[in-house]
């Protein structure tokens, strides 16, 4: 006899449950967590280096560094005097909540106020996996072309803010900043956008202020709550 079994189970259910646990843990500790997502080479690590430089005197920062095989990025960041944990996915195209849960065990959470999770360089899969962060921030660099928002809408729809990096290259490319902003607005009208160059420092201030603001919001919430 033939039998139909109704399952109705999301495939990412296990991840969603672990992400919730991560989020509870981080919220209880009053930590603001930012999940940085971009294509390879958009400048995530340089942006992090410059952001840490600007913020390390304001509060302590932790880093979960996702990479497929290497530890180059965490070595670059370790020199900055922040608590960094490396996750190697060995071929995996994204970080998941389980990997982040393990990384959190190795971080001094009682000392950290702001935690960055640098996802594996990829605009596709990381958008789908909740890690337990407060905010997803997508980075789009000028050298990638202004058509990327329409090609990878989910990541921009999920993001709280978008960094338009490498604006120092604008004169040398046909990247149209106005078009890119317009396309991003079509996907999510209330996206916060930060056109900047992590390399020259131009535009960094607005991004750093936004982070400070988010950290003080979390502090207020954990003080009242």
């Amino acid at each position: 006899m033939n039998l139909e079994v109704i399952v109705a189970q999301p495939l990412l259910k296990a991840n969603e449950e672990l992400a919730k646990q991560n989020r509870n843990l981080l919220n209880r500790r009053g930590i603001t967590t930012v999940n940085l997502i971009s294509a390879p080479g958009a400048g995530k690590t340089t942006l992090l280096e410059k952001t840490i430089e600007a913020l390390k005197n304001s509060f302590s920062i932790g880093i979960v560094e996702g990479d497929i095989y290497t530890t180059f990025d965490s070595e670059r960041l370790a020199g900055q005097g922040v608590a960094a944990v490396q996750i190697n996915t060995y071929g995996g195209c994204h970080l998941d909540a389980q990997m982040v849960a393990q990384a959190l065990e190795r971080l001094p959470l009682d000392k950290i106020k702001l935690l960055f999770i640098e996802n594996v360089g990829n605009l596709v899969c990381p958008a789908e996996f909740d890690l337990g962060e407060n905010y997803k921030v997508a980075i789009l660099s000028v050298s990638e072309g202004s058509d990327k928002p329409k090609k990878y809408p989910l990541v921009f729809q999920e993001a709280e803010a978008v960094i338009l990096n490498k604006i120092d290259l604008l004169p040398y490319t046909d990247f149209d900043l106005a078009v890119a902003k317009e396309q991003l607005k079509e996907i999510k009208n209330n996206l916060v956008m930060f056109p900047l160059s992590a390399k020259t420092g131009e535009g960094m201030e607005a991004w750093v202020e936004w982070l400070k603001d988010k950290v003080s919001q979390t502090e207020k919430l954990s003080a009242t709550g």
Binding site: L3, V5, I6, P153, E186, K188
Partner: protein, 129 residues
């Protein structure tokens, strides 16, 4: 890009449920895949063909129900299908929208054949779990 991992999860869930429901042979698996999910149906089918070998799903067919993107405007409450990833309300231009369909990535159901023993009825039975 991670369709193989997703399909491995599908097969794990279905095999476990088939065992619990005493179904030694799975004949069909139905998935819902939203247009906004990052899983490509073609890659899912390819992964299925490779991974189902030597499992209770070896002879099963895969049916993928593709789900269009449907949004609901949080201001005027109307529902609409966005054109060209334009995520604001075409009625009142509000950008406060909620995705109500299109992010699906789940198993709807599966079908299997029960053990010969004690089954002399040829009808299809729907069972919830």
């Amino acid at each position: 890009m991670h369709e193989t991992a997703l399909m491995a999860e599908v097969l794990k869930i279905v095999q476990q449920s088939a065992l619990e429901n005493n179904l030694p042979k799975v004949t069909k698996i139905k998935l819902a895949v939203g247009k906004l999910s990052m899983a490509l149906p073609k890659a899912l089918i390819f992964a299925f063909q490779v991974l189902k070998k030597e499992t209770v799903c070896e002879e099963a067919e895969l049916e993928i129900e593709s789900k269009e993107i449907v949004l609901q405007c949080l201001d005027c409450t109307r529902e609409f299908r966005p054109q060209d990833y334009h995520f604001s309300c075409p009625f009142c231009t509000s950008s406060q929208v909620k995705i109500i369909q299109g992010r699906e990535l789940h198993i709807i159901s599966f079908e299997g054949e029960e053990n010969e023993l004690g089954s002399n009825c040829g009808s299809t039975l729907v069972k919830s779990q």
